[in-house]
């Protein structure tokens, strides 16, 4: 197929054809045909038709907002906290660099995000493999759905439930098992790993589903054991899926502030500092928000080649 042989409708679907019956005829059809022929001759017009809307939307609304935020990060709060001084300067960035606390918090958050991602990969691989390749075929969709349901449960309520679970004493774990990590850094990692786990299982499951069984059998026929097949065939094929899941777990962990507040004890993360300063000192919050943006953009550029972005 070449790009110019098949076209897409310009913007919303052409209303020319009324539903049902054979190909309609008449005035409206005639105009539709004219437009159609015009589009046949001008692939650029077709491209323009489909490209304009999403591009304008994203540029104007999203990229525009990011730029506005970036500009704000060069402003500063006045002394008494009564307003924002709209003069461009780098005082916020200077503060970010000069104060150890902000670096510590950024590194801590990065560490949490990495740890959560690693834990989720470790938890997700075996279960995804089980669902896709070991469980009886008629059970597979049901099991996949079972992974999906918790994703629809309210994030807030799950985070609160974890508060009830981790409390020490008085929490579910402490009262039934007798031990609990309590509220703190460990609590944050556990809860975030829990919250984002389905985001990791599902892409890996989908990746495994696409992997033909015949390939695994071939590997076995060639004398490779289970572990060898896993290492040489399965894992390499799964890289894009794993990375796609990691985009979710990493980014969601990097920005979380609600779960952190509920189960983190006094722990501060990038998200909680940005959230607290959003109302107190917007320019500073904007400057600190640039940190996760830079981390994610580097991350995205790094993984572009793996094809993971198509797996999101």
């Amino acid at each position: 197929m070449t790009a110019s042989t098949i076209g897409a409708p310009a913007g919303p679907p052409d209303p020319a054809g009324p539903g049902g019956g054979g190909p309609p005829v008449g005035m409206r059809d005639g105009r539709a045909r004219q437009v159609s022929r015009m589009l046949d001759r001008h692939p650029r017009a077709r491209l323009f038709g489909v490209l304009t809307w999403p591009t304008v939307w994203l540029l104007l609304i999203y990229v525009g907002s990011l730029v506005a935020l970036f500009v704000t990060s060069f402003y500063r709060l006045n002394e008494d906290g009564t307003g924002i001084v709209k003069e461009l300067g780098v005082s916020n960035y200077r503060q970010l660099i000069d104060t150890d606390t902000y670096r510590t918090i950024a590194l801590r958050t990065l560490w949490i995000a990495v740890l959560v991602t690693v834990i989720d990969v470790a938890l997700a691989l075996p279960i995804a493999y089980y669902i896709a390749k070991v469980a009886k075929p008629r059970w597979r969709p049901l099991l996949a759905a079972a992974v999906l349901v918790p994703l629809w449960g309210s994030y807030l309520v799950k985070a609160f439930a974890w508060r009830a679970i981790l409390g020490d004493p008085g929490g579910v774990l402490a009262e039934t098992v007798g031990t609990s990590p309590g509220y703190g850094l460990t609590g944050v990692v556990v809860v975030l790993a829990y919250l984002w786990l389905p985001y990791m299982i599902l892409p890996i499951y989908a990746g495994l589903e696409r992997l033909p069984d015949s390939l695994l059998d071939a590997s076995g026929d060639l004398g490779a054991g289970f572990v060898r097949t896993l290492r040489s065939v399965v894992i390499p094929v799964l890289v894009p899926s794993i990375v796609a899941g990691a985009v979710f777990t990493f980014s969601l962990s990097l920005g979380d502030y609600i779960a952190v507040q509920l189960v983190g004890g006094p722990t501060q993360t990038i998200g909680s500092v940005v959230y607290a300063n959003f109302t107190a000192d917007l320019p500073f919050a904007a400057a600190y928000a640039v940190v996760p943006v830079v981390i994610m953009v580097v991350f995205l550029l790094g993984i572009r080649r793996t094809g993971a972005l198509d797996n999101l």
Binding site: L60, V63, G64, S65, V67, A68, F70, V71, F74, L77, N78, E79, D80, G81, T82, G83, E87, L88, G89, V90, S91, R94, Q95, T99, T101, Y102, T104, I105, R163, A164, G167, D168, P169, G170, G171, G182, Y183, Q261, L262, G264, G265, P266, Q268, V273, A276, N277, F278, T279, A280, D281, L282, F284
Partner: protein, 387 residues
């Protein structure tokens, strides 16, 4: 340091491209009205959760609907979760009024976000406790900027089964080698620095602290240092009060600042909890209804301020929210009847001992000069303290 002019201009240009011009043309009112005219049919307010209930939380708690029926002002409520958030919401100029605590009200006055209020137009104003009138957090230069709503003190709560002997000083939460390490809580807001300053006022006479909201750099640094010490003993900071309630009930937290309402709600679930008003005195909050200087519905806002300070409505709010009503006449109508005693609503000596929240600024609030540590520094210090 400024970045270079050209780079600045480029960035600014980019900003303009996407931003358009956001300059506002709404007129600002800087004088109080002489009379309340006809209602505008609508009212949009920023309030603490529980201050303007319309029955959607609990069908029995509804004083907004009767107001709407009486005045024809359709009320829209935006819940503010923190003082900083309220300040920011009021900056948008989209609201007619706010129930501001002292740690945002001074800022709102200074920033010109709120207009002077003619208290003569509020029929219930005469009944309001004189202790709450003409304070540093609701008036400026002899001009009134709001109508008091209700107040409360920050108490020290402790779990008497764990914490022995019973504490009578804030020393309990600031001691370096606390036996309750990891089980202490503190309020999560920059204004909590004042609690440390209040404690140092007695504990470190050499610092000569007079007002915990008017601190010199040296006094401020001492308070921050104390809080950094406290940080290693903190189990969690609280700003969400149900989370704090639950932590005290379960015993994950056994000692720390609290509000009366949290204690009242937690006590049925944990009989060991006790509160004390420490010997150093305590900080507290007193909330004020203020009118936006860009109010689109000022008449409805005046009607609201009169309505919310009437004894019957004060009784409802104070009981539901858990605070001392600003209008003592509410005490006769409140359910439960002992509410005002529990909250010490009519105890003038107690109210006097409280250092009510006020926003620190460079021009000292207590008139001691113009070199006090401004609020922007309090905000930054708070993040650094928590680490």
């Amino acid at each position: 340091m400024r970045i270079s002019r050209t780079a600045g201009a480029t960035v600014a240009l980019l900003g303009l491209v996407v931003a358009g011009c956001g300059s506002d043309s709404t007129s600002k009112s800087t004088t109080a009205p002489n009379k309340v005219g006809a209602g505008e049919g609508a009212l949009s307010i920023v309030a603490w959760a529980g201050y303007a209930e319309d029955g959607s939380t609990d069908p029995d708690q509804n004083w907004v609907t009767p107001f709407e029926q009486q005045t024809g002002c359709k009320v829209t409520v935006k819940t503010g979760n923190t003082s900083d958030e309220m300040f920011q919401l009021m900056s948008s100029g989209e609201y007619d009024g706010v129930s501001a605590s002292g740690d945002s009200s001074v800022r709102m006055i200074d920033a010109g976000l709120v207009a002077p209020v003619n208290t003569a137009l509020i029929t219930n104003y005469a009944d309001i406790s004189p202790l709450l009138k003409d304070t540093v957090y609701n008036s400026s230069g002899g001009t009134n900027y709001g109508i008091p709503h209700g107040w409360g003190a920050n108490y020290l709560m402790y779990n008497s089964a764990v914490v022995t002997p019973a504490p009578d000083s804030w020393d309990a939460v600031f001691a370096q080698d606390s036996p309750y390490r990891g089980k202490i809580t503190a309020y999560d807001a920059p204004i909590y620095i004042a609690d440390a300053a209040l404690y140092l006022k007695t504990a470190r006479p050499d610092l000569a602290i007079k007002d915990p909201y008017s601190l010199t750099q040296k006094q401020f640094d001492a308070a921050v240092a104390l809080l950094k010490v406290q940080r290693s003993n903190i189990g969690e900071y609280w700003s969400n009060y149900s989370a704090s309630q639950q932590a005290f009930e379960q015993g994950t937290i056994v000692l720390g600042t609290t509000w009366q309402i949290i204690y009242n709600l937690a006590l049925p679930n944990n009989a060991d909890l006790k509160t004390v008003s420490p010997k150093e005195g305590s900080t507290g909050w007193s909330d004020t209804w203020m009118v936006s200087s860009k109010a689109k519905h000022p008449n409805c806002m005046y009607m609201w301020m009169d309505y919310i300070t009437s004894p019957a409505v004060q009784a409802q709010v104070a009981s539901w929210f858990g605070e001392a009503p600003a209008n003592p006449k509410a005490c006769g109508l409140i359910d439960p009847a002992e509410h005002c005693d529990v909250f010490k609503a009519t105890d003038a000596a107690f109210a006097k001992s409280i250092a009510f929240w006020a926003t620190p600024r460079k021009k000292c609030l207590d008139g001691s000069g113009s070199s006090c540590v401004p609020f922007s520094d309090w905000i930054k210090a708070w993040t650094v303290i928590k680490g």
